[in-house]
Amino acid sequence: MILRDIAHSRTGDKGDISNISVIAFDPKDYPAIARSVTAEKVKALFKGIVHGEVKRYEIPSLGALNFVMQRALGGGVTRSLALDAHGKCLSSAILELDIDEK
């Protein structure tokens, strides 16, 4: 199972910081997501893209996680050379993460 089967996601940008939400479609899947999708895993997934710290916030009332990633947008949205300067597509990449079904 991959994350996309049980969750959806949206990316936001501020300067060189990107945040990605991961939201369970069904709140009963939130514990599994919280167990599986760690800051370390996200940092490893975005190796070469995200150069700074990845911090995870938990919002159980929404069945959601929020990852805040430093130095993630090529030096900042307004100066990045990247085609997707805002990092808007990052939310689709995170949904490919494998989920531990145990």
């Binding site: 945040n19 939201i23 190796k47 949205v77």
Partner: protein, 446 residues
């Protein structure tokens, strides 16, 4: 309980105009707010104002106002917008002109300024938040510095009977929070209510992003009628409880899922969302589907506002040159990679001066790099893209030229070459004590 209905007429400067007209005509709303000022937009507007003192406001201002002023005037809907950008006074004059053109009378327009703090920032003692360097390190390159104003001048303008409030840089949620504070008489230190009103603003400020826009993924996240996407309405009670909805019959959807995605959009610590008016706490919010396209949102709160205001600093950050060319059919990826390597070698051998270069194969690895792309099969077509940062326009132009010349000097069957070169206005931020920022209000009438 008394409720106020606020519509969101735009989520960014270039947003669609028709949904705002639909809101004005059929939304049964009291207020219509337009958030149109991205970080960089105000710096570019400042450059426009330097070239022509009567300019510097949003380029679509006249078109938007021409579309909505009639129905808003007829129904008594008040308008708030940051389309004043670098020149709210000129924007107010433009709106006055549009109102006259439409034959409307009895309108009071308030222009809120005072967000331009470039002179104060240059006086010294300030540092750049991102780097810790003194602002003086950007000397000669500074274009603009605008403090994020809070709701105070907007509320004052509404109290003085303004029908339209046009501002420069204000906190985005302020365009939605101000009418609530004005209507319900919430105290400026009622942090709990201000936190709730900030949640309203945060959910509405990107317009279609909470009604199914930026959400659809055919299959797991199907959205009906996206082409006719309706913009959102918040129905807010005096106690700060609220429902997000949209015009009946419009396209899109308001669901728990669309609201959750927008709640966390551009949020860092959900327990501490900083605005000039309150530090809002969204960490205990719950959403509940209360009917078709109706979602009730509860549990937002707030803590005392910060002492300092955030200042958005615009500066000239060199130039970017870019070129692209496509390859298709068998072996397209190999020809694309050959194209990239040829341009890399030519830029080096002809001494094009760049401080940063980027080589992408669009369709393969341009968005997330080679590691994530390796899990997927090769595409039928690719587009080679080279972008580089330079100190001059002349050098930036040379990058695109070396891509275009691949037509006759590169791999077989390259097509659709494109090149561009532009000056970069980049943004950083600083903090300024709120006492140094003095909002002003000017009124014009029709």
């Amino acid at each position: 309980m008394r409720t106020i209905r606020i519509g969101s007429g735009a989520g960014y400067s270039g947003d669609r105009i028709e949904p705002a007209v639909e809101l004005a005509e059929k939304g049964d709303i009291h207020y219509l707010s337009f958030e149109c000022l991205a970080e960089r937009t105000i710096a570019i507007a400042q450059q426009a104002k330097l070239n022509d003192p009567s300019k510097g406001y949003d380029p679509l201002l006249a078109e938007r106002m021409r579309a909505v002023l009639g129905p808003c005037h007829a129904k008594g809907i008040k308008i708030l917008t940051n389309m004043g950008a670098a020149n709210p006074a000129a924007a107010a004059a433009m709106i006055q002109g549009v109102a006259r053109e439409l034959g409307l009378t009895g309108l009071k327009i308030a222009a809120v300024a005072g967000d331009d703090v470039l002179d104060e920032l240059k006086k010294g003692g300030y540092s750049i938040t991102e780097s810790g360097e003194p602002v003086a390190s950007l000397a000669g390159k500074l274009v603009s510095a605008n403090a994020y104003l809070g709701i105070a001048p907007l509320v004052e303008a509404l109290r003085n009977g303004a029908d339209i409030v046009v501002t420069g840089r204000v906190a985005d949620p302020a365009l939605f929070l101000a009418p609530l504070v004005h209507e319900f008489g919430w105290a400026m230190d009622d942090w709990d209510k201000l936190g709730k009103g900030t949640a309203v603003g945060h959910l509405l400020e990107c317009a279609g992003q909470v009604t199914g826009g930026y959400f659809a993924d055919p299959g797991p996240k199907t959205v009906e009628g996206l082409a006719r996407l309706g913009f959102p309405i918040a129905e807010v009670g005096e106690d700060g409880s609220f429902v997000i909805t949209k015009v009946q019959g419009s396209g899109g959807a308001v669901t728990e899922s669309t609201c959750k995605e927008q709640l966390l959009y551009e949020i860092h610590d959900p327990a501490a969302y900083y605005t000039p008016d309150v530090v809002a706490d969204f960490s205990k919010i719950t959403v509940r589907q209360a009917g078709p396209d109706r979602v009730a949102v509860t549990g937002a709160s707030g803590r005392p506002r910060p002492d300092d205001l955030k200042v958005s600093v615009g500066y000239i950050d060199g130039y970017i040159g870019e070129g692209q060319i496509s390859y298709a059919g068998p072996n397209a990826v190999a020809r694309g990679r050959l194209a990239l390597s040829i341009v890399a070698e030519r830029l080096k051998s002809t001494n094009v001066a760049t401080s940063e270069l980027r080589f992408d194969l669009i369709g393969v690895d341009s968005i997330h790099g080679p590691a994530l792309a390796a899990r997927h099969p090769e595409p039928y077509e690719v587009r080679a893209r080279i972008a580089g940062r330079t100190d001059s326009m002349k050098e930036a132009v040379r990058i695109g030229n070396e891509v275009e010349t691949l037509y006759t000097n590169g791999p077989a069957s390259g097509g659709g070459a494109f090149k561009s070169a532009r000056q970069v206005v980049a943004m950083l931020s600083a903090l300024m004590p709120r006492g140094k920022v003095v909002p002003t209000i000017q009124y014009v009438e029709v």
